[in-house]
């Protein structure tokens, strides 16, 4: 889907300082070489299967399907991966690539901390140094993940600039990369940033839809009617959509974090409220004011609290191939609790946004229709914050 200049329609590109240009060119050349290298692919598959625990399960949520009284619901259990989220897929790929390129140090940004934990994990496994940039506000919201990263040997840098959330962590990681390039790979965590990152991250995450396709054909003998995933930058969503893009009868639905609502300023729903812009190396949709100043966004979910969206999602939106819907904090928290009670599965608050939309959609569909929801991560990290949201003060 990418053209040679790293464009998805009008989106994407390489809007970065000259200092980084040779680094992204080197990365692109290395990736184009290794993605077709049988030895690289054998090593990566082995890491996926033996270390991360792939393939992840496609679980039939029978109770939930029955209660909602519509479509059959399957859950793609990325929460069962090692480190508890889909982030490990991309990180194992990028860390292996970085190692082949002779890099000895990984830097990463993180929002909820799942990508940071995954990066720290891969760095520990592959004997690399690791520095993770995390917004100060997120280090408070996700204190447990900060500890996990340190336990894994990573240095966590608390970013105090701007809104002290994910976008500021990305900015700081980019600044760090411009100051140290020769031994350092920037392990970007989502399908965003300058080319070739949106393509590389998508390719490593596309294992999700490759597996869904095989698993649903085995279980149901046909493709699903809808695939639903949450979208911040959009890596688990593009991974879930990718192998279905050519199947026009499969609805692809991305769930954006509406925060307190898309009619308020406290939202992170980029496609619903943003407009075209250039930021963090890419052209795409961004939440911004009339002068192009990036808006301070808000969501209960630190992982979706980002003012932009990956360029391929912007393109899928433009051509009408994927739908993007906003889901509020309240709906996500209700879905978080619902899935825990109904199926005994505590999803990440990010993934709960996708569950919330499935709860709206399933009753409108027929019993023979099929929805697949990607549960991108597990919700242990969110329990304290959700308890606080419900007015219960618990300590981690």
């Amino acid at each position: 889907m990418t053209n040679p200049n790293g464009r998805f329609g009008i989106h994407g590109g390489q809007y970065i300082p000259e200092t980084l240009m040779n680094a992204v060119i080197e990365l692109e050349e290395a990736y184009n070489h290794y993605k077709n290298d049988p030895e690289f692919n054998r090593e990566l598959t082995e890491l996926f299967n033996e270390y991360a625990g792939r393939p992840s399960r496609l679980y039939y949520a029978e109770k939930m399907s029955g209660e909602l009284g519509g479509a059959k619901i399957y859950l793609k259990r990325e929460d069962l991966n090692h480190t508890g989220a889909h982030k490990i897929n991309n990180v194992l790929g990028q860390a292996l690539l970085a190692k082949k390129m002779g890099k000895t140090r990984l830097i990463a940004e993180t929002g909820a901390g799942q990508h940071g934990v995954a990066a720290a994990t891969a760095a520990a496994l592959m004997d690399m140094e690791c520095v993770v940039f995390m917004g100060e506000e997120d280090t408070v919201r996700q204190a447990l993940n900060v500890y996990r990263m340190r336990l894994l040997g990573a240095e966590v840098v608390s970013v105090k600039t701007g809104t002290a959330t994910l976008k500021d962590a990305v900015s700081e990681a980019m600044r760090e990369w411009t100051s140290r390039i020769s031994d350092t790979h920037y392990c970007l965590g989502s399908v965003m940033g300058p080319h070739p990152f949106p393509t590389i991250v998508r390719d490593f995450q596309s294992v999700i839809s490759k597996e869904i396709r095989e698993q649903i054909i085995e279980k149901e003998g046909r493709l699903p009617d809808a695939v639903i995933a949450c979208v911040g930058g959009g890596s688990n969503a593009i991974g879930s959509f990718y192998h279905f893009i050519g199947d026009k009868n499969v609805r692809l639905i991305g769930c954006e974090a509406a925060g307190r609502g898309i009619d308020t300023f406290e939202t992170a729903a980029t496609i619903a409220t943003g407009r075209l812009g250039i930021f963090h190396g890419m052209k795409s949709y961004f939440c911004q004011d009339e002068y192009g100043q990036i808006a301070p966004v808000y969501s209960i979910s630190a992982g979706l609290d980002y003012p932009g969206v990956g360029p391929e999602h912007a393109y899928l939106h433009d051509i009408g191939r994927a739908e993007y819907v906003p889901v509020t904090d309240e709906e996500a928290v209700n879905a978080f609790e619902y899935l825990a009670r109904t199926e005994g599965i505590i999803p990440a608050i990010e993934s709960a946004h996708a569950v919330a939309h499935a709860i709206r959609l399933a009753p409108q569909m027929k019993r023979e229709q099929i929805i697949v929801i990607t549960i991108s991560g597990r919700g242990d990290k969110d329990c304290a914050a959700i308890a606080r949201y419900r007015g219960e003060d618990i300590h981690e």
Binding site: Y15, I16, E18, S171, R175, Y291
Partner: protein, 256 residues
Amino acid sequence: MSNIAKAFEKGKAFIAFITCGDPDPETTASAVRAAADNGADLIELGIPFSDPTAEGPVIQGANLRALSGGVTTDKIFAFVRELRSTVNVPMVFMTYANVVFSYGAERFISACRDIEIDGLILPDLPFEEKDEFLPICRRYGVDLISLIAPTSENRIAMIAKEAEGFLYIVSSLGVTGMRSEIKTDLASIVKVVRQNTNIPCAIGFGISTPEQAKKFANVSDGVIVGSAIIKLLEKYGRQAPEYVGEYVKAMKEALK
């Protein structure tokens, strides 16, 4: 010929960077006048951006103060138009691609011509993406300034061949900010530039002292100073223009 060339006609050029609206437009205007009166050959006016990814902490702080003070692109255009009646040295805008894109590239760049802004520096617009704005810049006679970094290596010739106005040579890896030592072999970079273009080149990032200015002007056509001037604005606020004038005078003296 580009108006920017005038900045390099009287020996080594001193280029001063000032963020618009830090702490308010009146102070910016006074600081620009003080810099020009004391020998600055070109003024680089920063339009603040919420997320300036190429800046170190000092200029990030200036961006934040300016935006908190309520400055906008429209307000900046208005005060620069007024400033132009008393300041004659060439001036360029430095900002981020989204500020131009979001305002509407044609609307932004035509406004630059109207208020006699001679060039545009966008640190997040590399060679590969310059067609985003270059055709419009050419139409309105606004030079789109190219940057060369210590990591540019095989890219230097390609960038230099198509450069306009002046070439901005980034002295060091990393973001803007004062540095005690700059190790990049800038003379070698300038040599390749000279083989590929006749337009002047100036070195920026990390320069703050007269000794550094002299040293880097010796291998190029001029130096760009930002963070050291912004530090004065941060420290002295509305009283800063006087100190900016003194500082520019000392730096310009070192270049003679």
